[in-house]
């Protein structure tokens, strides 16, 4: 049950209209167990005529499916290429996909990585990426996500989660504090990540108490959707097409580094948190809350629980796993992880009643309000 092995986690954010094609082709190559979550991706819509004068939101939301699964490291790149090929993600406006290397620390035997047989794919140029994940109160996500749109970095993805933490320690008074959270995921080039993170902190006022949490995490490679605007095109080529063309010519995205050009608001030195890890527990629905409180007794500060759907062939032995799953993401310090794992194991997280799986990824930089700062 204890593995501590490195595997590839592939995460794809694709328009719902094309997710079925991708799911089908993944199934064909032998990716039989994956998780599916619903999300939305806002893009800026250029409004024309009288509509441009109206106040209000100029964003439109596309329904997006977040497809995530584990594969062994050998086939990771192939599966990544397959998704890009089938979803035509190299064309702007269809979706993003990336892979990262994580530690699969403990898991129920039915919740292992996929081991598809080797297969050939087209060679795809990938980008080096860093992920930014930001958790804010429900309703606040759009303004933070907009940073990515306004800077033209990528199309962000937003999904819902439920927070646990201090809220659950104040008895019935907890109903006065909303638990609903919004989780924003973006991926950007490693050169820009810190500046973008800084801007998101500024916009989301994350330096104030109770506003949210943000962290960076390393990704391996992938391709991101940069089509941040929608509307009539007034030039011979759209800016996304031009950027893609230059990426191609330059053979990478390093030329896009913008650290020097993005204005830093204020010169406040922030007390960033480092040496943390994202410990994500995937388990059957209904068991998450109890397991999180176990983890909290072992030192975790809290968790964000999001709902997932476990997708597998109907007749496989994997059907024993509940189709309704929960992903409980906890940001812990490196030295706490072992204690929490032990506690989870003792609480039966990896037995047939929970079908737990714990993934650990490095979080080099994070930020939230803290009294010390």
């Amino acid at each position: 049950m204890e593995f501590k092995k490195r595997v590839s986690q592939i995460t794809a954010f694709v328009n719902r209209n094309i997710s079925k094609d991708i799911l089908d082709s993944l199934k064909e190559v032998g990716v039989i167990a994956l998780h599916l979550a619903a999300a939305r991706s806002p893009v800026i819509e250029d409004r024309k005529g009288i509509f441009a004068l109206l106040p209000g939101r100029d964003l439109v939301d596309d329904p997006v499916d977040i497809i995530s699964f584990l594969v062994d490291r050998k086939t990771g790149d192939h599966v990544l290429s397959l998704i890009i090929e089938k979803g035509r993600l190299n064309l702007p406006g269809r979706g993003s996909v990336y892979s990262e290397e994580i530690n699969l620390v403990m898991a129920h035997e039915l919740c292992q990585e996929n081991k598809p047989a080797p297969f050939a794919t087209e060679k795809t140029p990938f980008q080096k990426l860093t992920g930014i994940c930001c958790i804010v109160q429900r309703g606040q996500g759009e303004s933070v996500a907009r940073v990515a749109l306004d800077t033209g970095i990528c199309v962000p993805s937003l999904h819902f989660g439920v927070g646990t933490g201090v809220r659950d320690k104040i008895g019935l008074l907890r109903i006065t504090i909303p638990a609903e959270k919004e989780v924003i995921n973006i991926a950007t080039s490693p050169y820009d990540a810190e500046v973008i993170m800084e801007m998101m902190i500024e916009v989301g006022k994350l330096d104030q108490p109770g506003k949210g949490f943000i962290y960076l995490y390393p990704l391996k490679k992938g391709i991101i959707n940069m089509k941040v605007t929608r509307g009539e095109q007034r030039h011979a080529a759209s800016i996304e097409q031009i950027v893609a063309a230059i990426d191609h010519i330059k053979g990478g995205i390093e030329w896009r580094r913008r650290s020097g050009t993005v204005e830093k608001k204020g010169v406040k030195r922030r007390a960033y948190l480092s040496g943390l890890a994202d410990l994500t527990l995937l388990c059957d629905e209904g068991t998450g809350t109890d397991l999180v409180s176990v983890a909290m007794s072992a030192g975790a500060a809290g968790a964000t629980i999001a709902r997932l759907k476990h997708v597998r062939p109907p007749d496989s032995p994997l059907s024993e796993v509940s189709p309704a799953r929960e992903a409980c993401s906890m940001i812990v310090s490196d030295n706490q992880a072992d204690g929490i794992l032990k506690a989870l194991k003792e609480a039966g997280a990896f037995t047939d009643s929970c079908h737990g799986q714990v993934q650990l990824r490095r979080v080099p930089k994070a930020f939230t309000y803290s009294e010390i700062a």
Binding site: N15, R40, D62, F160, K309
Partner: protein, 709 residues
């Protein structure tokens, strides 16, 4: 990072108060935002457009306050208690039990839901002017067999929920259900159109579908469906848990029409009033009433004097004799006129002829005294204990009957424990409390306001009598009547009355003067406010009023608010609650205006329901599963506790002014239009999404074509 150790944190009293204050303010403001439009609109329309002051303003203000408070508790209770409970059972049921058990549970739940939130009072109110001779079958269903009507609706809802669950289980699309059911219903309605008796109940049947799903049932079955779908739906399932409400709005229409067909043989055909009370039809007529006494009561309170004489074999003496006996026989009087000992006397004064009055009171003197005593309408004071008791029972019954089977299944069948039990129980308590307060508020505030506006509304296009302001002038002297002449030479008699310090000219109507008692019943009139009698502009104002009222009331509907939030949650914000609410509200506004047009111009319901439903079948075919589910579900939730009383008050007032049998059909038209509007919005959104998605592929294809050349 500050680390918290496990265990309780003690929150200081002032901090707790701060948290609570913020929380309460937040929730109350949400409800204020949802109801302000309809309330301000009704008040402004009544005072500014119709120019009438608001009667009982202080009670109405308290009522509106209670509506807001009640809605706040109710909605919070739904999200804390009832919906998590429904979802929990939805998730656990497929894991731990078999399909037949789920279906059995669904049947019971649907049936109980109908008993818990009975819409029958609403329907009876809509049909209170139905005459047994004009619409025997409709009359029978609303009075003698009203309980069977409720059971048939309950059966319809039960079957609907069972089919809904089966649909989730096998991941069936909603579309075939819609094609078959709507096709069947339209065909049934067309057939019924040509049958005199069935024709009268089509409005009732369609309205039954619209009103059955109440503010407790809808969130509960939505949550249940969502729970079940998370366990059984496939990866690409577009249903997401919606669609049951749609079935629960369609199946009852079918069961009620079937019930009508079943009872068709046992009722006489429509006939005129005199024939109905004639001895040769007695047996068939009596079959429409619970017993002979009920028929006699109906005869005296609703039939013309000719029919009353006809009932007593055409002999006035027999009738007078009967009344004399009746006034002395307490037990008989009670059986016919009910528990109120003065009911017979009150009837004689308000509706009886001179002979009838004489036979009830025995002497002319007694009649004179009684006229002064009974004819001025007594304003009923608010009976607080009765109000509290009635509404508490309604709330406890509605939530109790629905949560009981849920708890039974959870504890007995599934052997699960209740997670976060304190929160869920608090939520259920809030729901009961909220529903109780809310119902009282509706009764005191919104209903009164709606009735006042509704009753005066027809004055926009015709002259109406203000019956509530009827006064009795004693010692009236006909010599004080004078004549006035209009430019076209028509004479009109009038007299001056001194009201307060003003001298007011009042048109004189000979029929209102009783020479025996020397009393004049003075009924003020009002209207037409816009143009002449029956003018287009007057009616246009009414239709516009109906549209805005429907729009405003819909935004305040609790079930729709719950549906909107659920849709936003399930679609992760891609379908915003505000968009859904606006689309539905505009649809309902149109629907209600259409329903009012039906009453004003007496358009057969067939013409208003069949074309939109047939159009809907076509649009449904074009739409995606996601929007079909959401769009059709919104139809079922639009007509709730806020819209229905307002619509009925208006519909009945207009109906009685233009002489239409019943006020049915408005709710049905108010249900069909929002489906159209939501599906139209859906088509547009989908078209844009697809266009954006294919744009890139298209460009790439063109590029490769050019490269190829």
């Amino acid at each position: 990072m500050t680390q918290q150790t496990a265990g309780k944190i003690k929150v200081s009293f002032s901090h707790a108060l701060g948290l609570l204050g913020h929380y309460i303010k937040n929730r109350v403001m949400t409800q204020v935002k949802s109801v302000w439009l309809i309330i301000i609109y009704l008040i402004l329309f009544q005072t500014v457009i119709l120019g009438i002051r608001i009667a009982d303003a202080s009670i109405i203000a308290i009522g509106i306050g209670l509506v807001v408070a009640g809605l706040t508790f109710f909605m919070e209770g739904l999200f804390l208690g009832l919906m998590p409970l429904g979802e929990l059972v939805g998730v656990k049921l497929p894991q731990k039990s078999t399909l037949p058990v789920i279906l059995g549970f669904a049947l019971v739940l649907g049936f109980l839901a109908t008993l818990a939130e009975p819409a029958i009072q609403v329907l009876q109110a809509a049909g209170r002017a139905v005459k047994p001779w004009e619409a025997p079958l409709l009359f029978l269903l609303l009075t003698k067999y009203s309980h069977i009507l409720v059971y048939s609706v309950g059966a319809g809802v039960g079957i609907a929920i069972a089919f809904g669950m089966m649909r989730f289980h096998y991941n069936w699309s909603l579309k075939p259900f819609i094609y078959i059911l709507v096709g069947l219903l339209v065909a049934f309605t067309i057939w019924a159109f040509f049958n005199q008796n069935m024709h009268t109940i089509t409005g009732l049947a369609w309205d039954c579908g619209a009103v059955t799903t109440g503010p407790v049932t809808v969130p509960l079955i939505l949550a249940l469906g969502i729970g079940i779908c998370r366990m059984v739906g496939s990866a690409e399932s577009g249903t997401m848990g919606f669609g049951v409400v749609t079935l629960a709005s369609l199946f009852p229409v079918l069961t009620v029409l079937l019930l009508g067909t079943f009872l068709l043989g046992s009722v006489p055909g429509p006939m005129n009033e005199a024939d109905f009370f004639n001895k040769k039809n007695r047996k068939a007529a009596e079959a429409l009433f619970n017993n002979k006494d009920k028929m006699v009561h109906y005869l005296f309170s609703n039939a013309s004097i000719e029919s009353q004489v006809a009932y007593f074999d055409g002999s006035k003496e027999k009738m007078v004799e009967y009344l004399e006996v009746l006034s002395k026989n307490e037990s008989k009087k009670k059986a016919i006129f009910g528990d109120d000992p003065d009911a017979l006397k009150r009837w004689a004064i308000s509706q009886g002829t001179e002979e009838q009055r004489y036979s009830v009171f025995g002497s002319l003197d007694a009649v004179k005294k009684a006229v002064t005593r009974y004819s001025t309408s007594v304003k009923k004071a608010v009976n607080v204990p009765d109000l509290l008791a009635r509404n508490t029972i309604v709330a406890v019954k509605a939530i109790g009957l629905l949560t009981l089977p849920i708890f039974l299944v959870l504890f007995v069948l599934l052997r699960e424990k209740l997670p976060r039990s304190d929160e869920i129980l608090l939520g259920l308590f809030f729901t009961i409390l909220g529903m109780g307060i809310f119902s009282i508020g509706i009764e005191l505030g919104l209903n009164k306001l709606g009735n006042q506006v509704g009753n005066m509304l027809p004055s926009s296009f015709k002259t109406i009598q203000l019956l509530e302001e009827k006064t009795n002038i004693i010692n009236f002297d006909p010599d004080s009547v004078e004549s006035a002449i209009s430019p076209d030479g028509k004479k009109q008699d009038f007299f001056y009355a001194k009201i307060g310090n003003d001298y007011v000219p009042i048109p004189y109507d000979e029929k209102s003067f009783d020479p025996a008692t020397k009393q004049y019943q003075c009924t003020p009139t009002k209207g037409p406010l816009f143009g002449s009698e029956g003018s287009f502009w007057g009616i246009a104002v009414v239709l516009l009023f109906a549209f805005i009222m429907g729009y405003g009331a819909t935004l305040a509907e609790p079930a729709l608010n719950a549906l909107g939030l659920t849709v936003e949650e399930i679609t992760v914000g891609t379908f915003k609650k505000s968009l859904l609410m606006q689309a539905v509200a505009i649809g309902v506004g149109f629907g209600i205006a259409m329903g009012v047009a039906k009453i004003v111009w007496n358009i057969p319901l067939l013409w208003l329901l069949c074309p939109p439903y047939l159009l809907l079948l076509f649009i449904t075919k074009l739409s995606t599963e996601e929007f079909v589910n959401i769009g059709w579900d919104s139809a079922g939730v639009t007509t709730g506790p806020i819209t229905v009383p307002l619509v009925l008050a208006m519909g009945l007032a207009i109906g009685s002014q233009v002489g239409v049998v019943e006020g049915f059909g408005i709710l049905a038209t108010a249900s069909v239009c929002p489906i159209l509007s939501v599906l139209a919005v859906g088509l547009r959104i989908n078209w844009k999404r697809k266009a954006a998605l294919t744009e890139a592929v298209q460009t790439a294809k063109e590029e490769s074509l050019v490269d190829g050349i």
